[in-house]
Every structure is written in structure tokens, then in C-alpha cells.
């Protein structure tokens, strides 16, 4: 019989497959902070903008929620992660800023530097 260690390895492989099948290997991964503090700062509305755009045909983007990273006064935060590049962290994101992040960063690859947390 398989040991717990062997079982967990199988489970991990299956989990990775499920994540990949949801589009994890897309060119860009977007994480929106969705802890109580982030939601209070307005992250639900920001998340809605990304979801709406994906529903309306924005492709090659993997969207996920995440917990609070702990940078309170810059919430809501959004990360855009591309393989082989330093992840871009945006702070104090509003729905309007989310739209611009989609248009410039996600579609054209232009990072909006003044919103990046440094």
C-alpha cells in the first residue's frame, strides 16, 4: 500500500494538473487581494472588473484571488506575474485603474510605473 508520503505526492501532481488546466500557464497571472481588509478597501469591485473582462473575451490571463500580504495602507493590491520577469505589484487599485491595467499592461505589456509599489 502507498505510504502517506507517496499519496501526497500523487495528490500534489493532480492538484498541479488541475491548476494548469485552469490556465495557470497563461502568459500573465493576475492576483487580486481578497482578505477582509482588502475588500473593505474596495478589492471586490476591482476583482469584478477583471472577471468581466475575462468573460468578455480577455484571453491569456490566469485570474486568482489571494489573501492579505500585509501592506495595509496600499490596499487593494493587484499582482501581475509573468514567467521570467519580476512580478509587478500595483497598490491602491481602483476599478478605473484596473481597466487601465488591463488595457495597457495585460494587453500591450506596458507596465504603469507610477502605480507600482516600490
Amino acid at each position: 500500500m502507498a505510504t502517506p508520503i507517496e499519496k501526497i505526492k500523487t495528490k500534489r501532481a493532480e492538484a498541479l494538473n488541475r491548476i494548469i488546466s485552469k490556465g495557470y500557464l497563461s502568459t500573465k497571472r493576475v492576483y487580486v487581494g481578497m482578505a477582509t481588509c482588502e475588500i473593505a478597501a474596495g478589492s471586490k469591485e476591482v476583482m469584478a472588473v477583471f472577471k468581466e473582462n475575462i468573460n468578455n473575451g480577455l484571453t491569456d490571463v490566469y485570474l486568482s484571488q489571494k489573501g492579505c500580504a500585509g501592506r495595509c495602507n496600499l490596499e487593494p493590491t493587484v499582482e501581475v506575474i509573468e514567467e521570467g520577469k519580476i512580478p509587478v505589484k500595483y497598490g491602491k487599485v481602483t476599478p478605473d485603474m484596473a481597466k487601465e491595467i488591463i488595457e495597457k499592461h495585460l494587453k500591450k505589456g506596458e507596465i504603469i510605473d507610477e502605480w507600482v509599489i516600490k
Binding site: Y31, S64, K66, I86
Partner: protein, 602 residues
């Protein structure tokens, strides 16, 4: 195009831990800068950052290149040009220098390491917070989730697990700092057919949100820790006691427990072994005293949340009179890391008596508010200035309050105190569960003491007379002091009451309730004296002690006269105005209306 990408393509991080720095790190940084200059690479291409201790001291000096989280160990001066040539320019990591990088801790570094606020932290408890989806167990599994549980069930006996926790040196993160391994051992050895495990998630300090963030950001780490605890002491049931005011944390915890059950990490015969264990959530109504373990146990049992004398300790007679292991959220999240990254490694982080890291919720008058996890032994100065970014608006630092309503206020002279259980209590404060409030020159220390005492006074359960009545009397005295009605002898009365309450109360709430008052009297006695004797509040916070006067800067524009709601200001146009002190209600509207800074608050 007005926006241009000026972000660095790569980040090179040097470990600033004591182990690495006394090696050649500083020389290597200089060599790297020269090497980059020689090749005409600027800050646009490469950003150099200095981190806090990265926990790899044995292999130092450590250099990390991101993206990719490539870690180089034992880097020598002679390696610098090869790293630049091959990794920075050709994008091919120098394999001969790379070291293991599959550890659990510091995973957040891959995403956040290039930002100073994060880069100087070390994250064990919060390792996954902000980088995985907390509601998706697949995300947790992908970062080696439940592997520690599997390892324990495959390779270790319960006694061996306890031995590992003891070697790690982990101490309770709820505040008291009791050695976790010992607690586990006592509960394991206590006689009893049924035993319980409890996770104390009744976070109640004003301004503290470490546990909420940990559960909301990474609930499975907590659950995995609890299951391992259950295996170690021989329990089949666990409870998470969490306050109902944390609805999202509860929702995520419920989902995580359900998902864990479906995957066979909870329930009967976990991962095919003989070990069975399940977790139930119990909601608290948000009473501060229920964070005290015996009160918490009473609350779960359905009784009023009131503490009882110890011994017997819960490890002998706890929930329903059975041996019970109770640890707080942060303690539990450390467990999987100790199992997978190693107890010896864990014990290499921190100070002699305080091992590992501690999470703080840093708030108040500080630029970067937020969650900060640092190795034990980091100084308050490093937290406030290097990570927190210092005090905003050019104001002066006045004090730092640690440990919430049970803690104390430390003035500037204590900024170099290393954060660990013993050093903080020696300085007159406590570690507590991790609240940290920074106070600047605009805040009145008497008022701050009053705020905390009002909190504990409200939350006193009423069982012990010194706490119930004593805190009430102390609050009355503090209130009259800030209202300008302080009497001589009040300070001594506060001290005497405080000492009595500390000595004569049963639980931690009462024993520590006077701390904010006593520590502010000790360190800021002059402010109390000023309030009582001179009826003056230099910080300008106590409304009743303020007076507004108009200086010669006044040009007689009448703006203040127009906004004064009680017509206390008189004066002709183009002549200096005067405030009638009898009529003035100290609302401060005139200060805002004046464009010439002519109105003096004092």
C-alpha cells in the same frame, strides 16, 4: 507615451543577516556594483536590495537573484563576475553556486522580495499569505501543503514529533511564550482516554489582525498544524475557537476543513493510516477575556467565559475535564515548517531563548502600516524605520506600544531593544500576541493609557474584585486627569492601584491591565505631572486642556470670526482679533480657517 518601463529587469538581494554580513558581503556588494558599472548596466537593468536574515546562515554569504528565486550560497568575491556574466547578462544561472531552494519559509520572497517593506522580513508563519488562493486547496497542495502531515504519518512516532517541536525551540505565540514542545509533551503524558486540541483564534487586542490575516490568507497551514498536534498528543478531536466578528476567516476555514476532509486529511483513517482526527469550529462572541485559555474552555463548554485558577493546567484537565492542548493560530502555522524545513534549522533563527520569527501588526503613526514578520532579535528600530519607513509628516517618534492592552509603552531610549520575550519584558513591556502601535509627538501618553485601560475595564469579566473595581477607579482618575481636574497624589494612587490589581487578579487580563498606565507613568511621568500641575497637554490632544490664542501674525481678515460657532472671537477688520477664553469651546475650527498660521494651539 508618457509612461515608460523603468523597473529593474533583475533584482539581486544580499542577505544582511549577522552570519552573512561579517563574511564578505559588503565587499561583494561593492564588487558587484563595479562589475555592473563596467558592463554599463544601470539601475534600470539591475536593482540591488539588502534583505534581513534569510535563514541560510550556514551557507552564507547568500545572494538571491530574482526573477526565479535562484539562491547562491558561499559566494566569494571571485564569483561575482561569473554571476554577472552568465546569470545577469546571458540569463543562465550559475549552477555550481546554487543551493537548495525548495524550503517552505520565505516563499513570498519570489513575488515581494524586491520591495523594501517585504524584503527585510522573513516569513515562516505567513509564508503563503498573499501568494496563494486561500479558498483553493490545490494552491496549498502545490506549495507542498500537507506534506508535513504525510511525513509525520509516514516516518515519525508521536514522541518523535514532540521531540522535533522541542528541538525547534518554538514558544507559544499567543503572548506568554511557553515552550510549545513541553506543552505537547505534558498533554501527551497526561492520563486520559480522550484528549482535545484547541486552536485559539480569539484575537482581541485592539489593532491586532495577525491571526485574521493568517486564517484568511492561508487556512490550510493552520489546519495542517492542528492535525499534526492531534497526532502528537493522541487526540481525535480538535476545535478552532474563533470570534464571530471574523466572518470571512470563518468562511474560509469552513471551506478549508471541508476540502481537507474530501482529500482525506481529516476524518477517519487519515491518508490510509490508523490515525483519525476531525476539526470543529466554535464561535466566540468576541469577549476579550475568552482569549485566556481557561475562559476559552469554559466558553466552548457552554459556560460563561470566566477564567479559573491554574493548576490544574489545561494539559492535565482542560476541555470537559480532559487533557487539552491549546495553542494560538501563529503557533500552529509554524508547525509544518518545523517538520519539513527542520527543527534544527528553525532553532538557528532568532535569539538564544526565542526561536523563529514573530508576526507583528504595525499600526499608528508610521509610514508603512501592515503585517511584519521578522526573526526574533530584530530591534524595534529596524521594524519602525527599515521596514515601517519611519514616522510620516516629519514628526518625531515618541513611543512604541507593544503587546496591546496588556503591554507597555517604550520611549525612544528602548528602540534598540531586540524583540524577544525576555528583552521586551525586561524593558517593561511584553511580546504579547503581536500588536505594535507607533506613537508620535502629537499623541498624549496619558490619553493613550486611558484608551487601553478603558478597553480592559470594559472587558473585565468581573470575577476578581481588584480587576473589576480597581480598573474602574483607575479609569476615573485618568479621565479626570485628561479633563484637567487631576489632583496631586493621583499618580501615586494610580501606581498603588495598579500594583494591587497586578498582584491580586487571577488571570492575565487583570494581571496585565495596569501595564499601559504603569509603563507610561514610568517613562512619561512628566506628562502626567504637566496635566495635573500645570493643566497642560503638550501634545495638544486633551481638548479640555487646550487653549487657543491669536498671535501677531493676525492681519484681521475676519475668517476665524466667521467660523466660530459660539462667537468667541472679536476684532475689527485689519486689526488683530482676540479669543474670549470663557466662551471658547476649543473646537479648533478657527485654526483651520486661518490662512496665516496666526492661531496658536497650546
Amino acid at each position: 507615451m508618457k509612461k515608460r518601463n523603468v523597473r529593474a529587469e533583475k533584482t539581486i538581494t544580499f542577505c544582511n543577516g549577522p552570519g552573512c554580513m561579517h563574511l564578505e558581503s559588503t565587499k561583494i556588494i561593492d564588487a558587484l556594483k563595479q562589475e555592473l558599472q563596467k558592463r554599463d548596466l544601470s539601475y534600470k537593468d539591475v536593482k540591488i536590495t539588502i534583505s534581513g536574515c534569510l535563514g541560510m546562515c550556514e551557507q552564507g554569504p547568500i545572494v538571491i537573484v530574482n526573477p526565479g528565486y535562484i539562491i547562491y550560497g558561499k559566494v566569494k568575491l571571485s564569483d561575482v563576475s561569473q554571476i554577472v556574466e552568465e546569470h545577469i547578462i546571458k540569463n543562465k544561472p550559475v549552477v555550481r553556486l546554487t543551493i537548495e531552494q525548495n524550503h517552505l519559509y520565505n516563499r513570498f520572497f519570489r513575488v515581494f522580495g524586491d520591495i523594501d517593506f517585504f524584503g527585510k522580513q522573513m516569513r515562516i508563519a505567513l509564508r503563503n499569505c498573499g501568494i496563494i488562493d486561500p479558498e483553493n486547496i490545490d494552491d496549498y497542495l502545490s506549495v507542498r501543503g500537507y506534506e508535513a502531515l504525510a511525513k509525520v504519518l509516514t516516518d515519525l512516532t508521536p514522541e518523535q514529533v514532540i521531540e522535533q517541536i522541542k528541538i525547534s525551540g518554538l514558544r507559544g505565540r499567543g503572548g506568554a511564550g511557553f515552550p510549545t514542545g513541553l506543552k505537547w509533551e505534558f498533554t501527551r503524558k497526561a492520563a486520559g482516554d480522550v484528549k482535545y486540541v484547541i486552536c485559539n483564534a480569539d484575537e482581541g487586542d485592539p489593532g491586532a489582525f495577525m491571526d485574521r490575516s493568517a486564517i484568511e490568507g492561508d487556512p490550510h497551514s493552520v489546519i495542517e498544524g492542528i492535525i499534526i498536534g492531534g497526532y502528537a498528543i493522541g487526540a481525535t478531536e480538535g476545535k478552532v475557537y474563533i470570534r464571530a466578528e471574523y466572518p470571512l476567516a470563518i468562511k474560509r476555514l469552513e471551506k478549508a476543513i471541508k476540502d481537507a476532509r474530501e482529500h482525506g486529511f481529516l476524518g477517519k483513517n487519515i491518508l490510509g493510516t490508523d490515525f483519525s482526527f476531525d476539526i470543529e469550529i466554535r464561535l466566540g462572541a468576541g469577549a476579550f477575556v475568552c482569549g485566556e485559555e481557561t475562559a476559552l474552555i469554559h466558553s466552548i463548554e457552554g459556560s460563561r467565559g470566566m477564567p479559573r485558577p491554574r493548576p490544574p493546567f489545561p494539559s492535565v484537565s482542560g476541555l470537559f475535564g480532559k487533557p487539552t492542548l491549546i495553542n494560538n493560530v501563529e503557533t500552529w502555522t509554524n508547525i509544518p515548517v518545523i517538520i519539513l524545513d527542520g527543527a534544527k534549522w528553525f532553532s538557528s533563527i532568532g535569539t538564544e531563548k526565542s526561536k523563529g520569527t514573530k508576526v507583528f501588526a504595525v499600526a499608528g503613526k508610521i509610514k508603512n502600516t501592515g503585517l511584519v514578520e521578522v526573526p526574533m532579535g530584530t530591534t524595534l528600530r529596524e521594524i519602525v524605520y527599515d521596514i515601517g519607513g519611519g514616522i510620516p509628516n516629519g514628526k518625531k517618534f515618541k513611543a512604541i506600544q507593544t503587546g496591546g492592552p496588556s503591554g507597555g509603552c517604550l520611549p525612544e531610549a528602548y528602540l534598540d531593544v531586540p524583540v524577544d520575550y525576555e528583552s521586551l519584558s525586561k524593558a517593561g513591556s511584553i511580546m504579547g500576541s503581536g500588536g505594535m502601535i507607533v506613537i508620535d509627538e502629537d499623541s498624549c501618553m496619558v490619553n493613550i493609557a486611558r484608551f487601553f485601560l478603558e478597553f480592559t475595564q470594559n472587558e473585565s469579566c468581573g470575577k476578581c474584585t481588584p480587576c473589576r473595581e480597581g480598573t474602574k477607579r483607575m479609569l476615573e482618575i485618568l479621565t479626570r486627569i485628561v479633563e484637567g481636574k487631576g489632583q496631586s497624589g493621583d499618580i501615586e494612587k494610580l501606581e498603588r492601584l495598579g500594583e494591587t490589581i497586578k498582584k491580586a487578579s487571577l488571570c492575565g487580563l487583570g494581571q496585565s491591565a495596569p501595564n499601559p498606565v504603569l509603563s507610561t507613568i514610568k517613562n512619561f511621568r512628566h506628562e502626567y505631572e504637566e496635566h495635573i500641575n500645570d493643566k497642560k497637554c503638550t501634545a495638544g490632544e486633551c481638548q479640555a486642556l487646550l487653549s487657543y490664542t491669536i498671535s501677531d501674525k493676525c492681519i484681521g481678515c475676519t475668517a476665524c470670526k466667521k467660523v466660530c460657532p459660539v462667537n468667541a472671537i472679536t476684532g475689527q477688520v485689519k486689526n488683530k482679533h482676540i479669543i474670549d477664553q470663557q466662551k471658547c469651546i476649543k473646537c479648533g475650527q478657527c485654526v483651520q480657517a486661518c490662512k496665516f498660521d496666526a492661531i496658536v494651539k497650546g
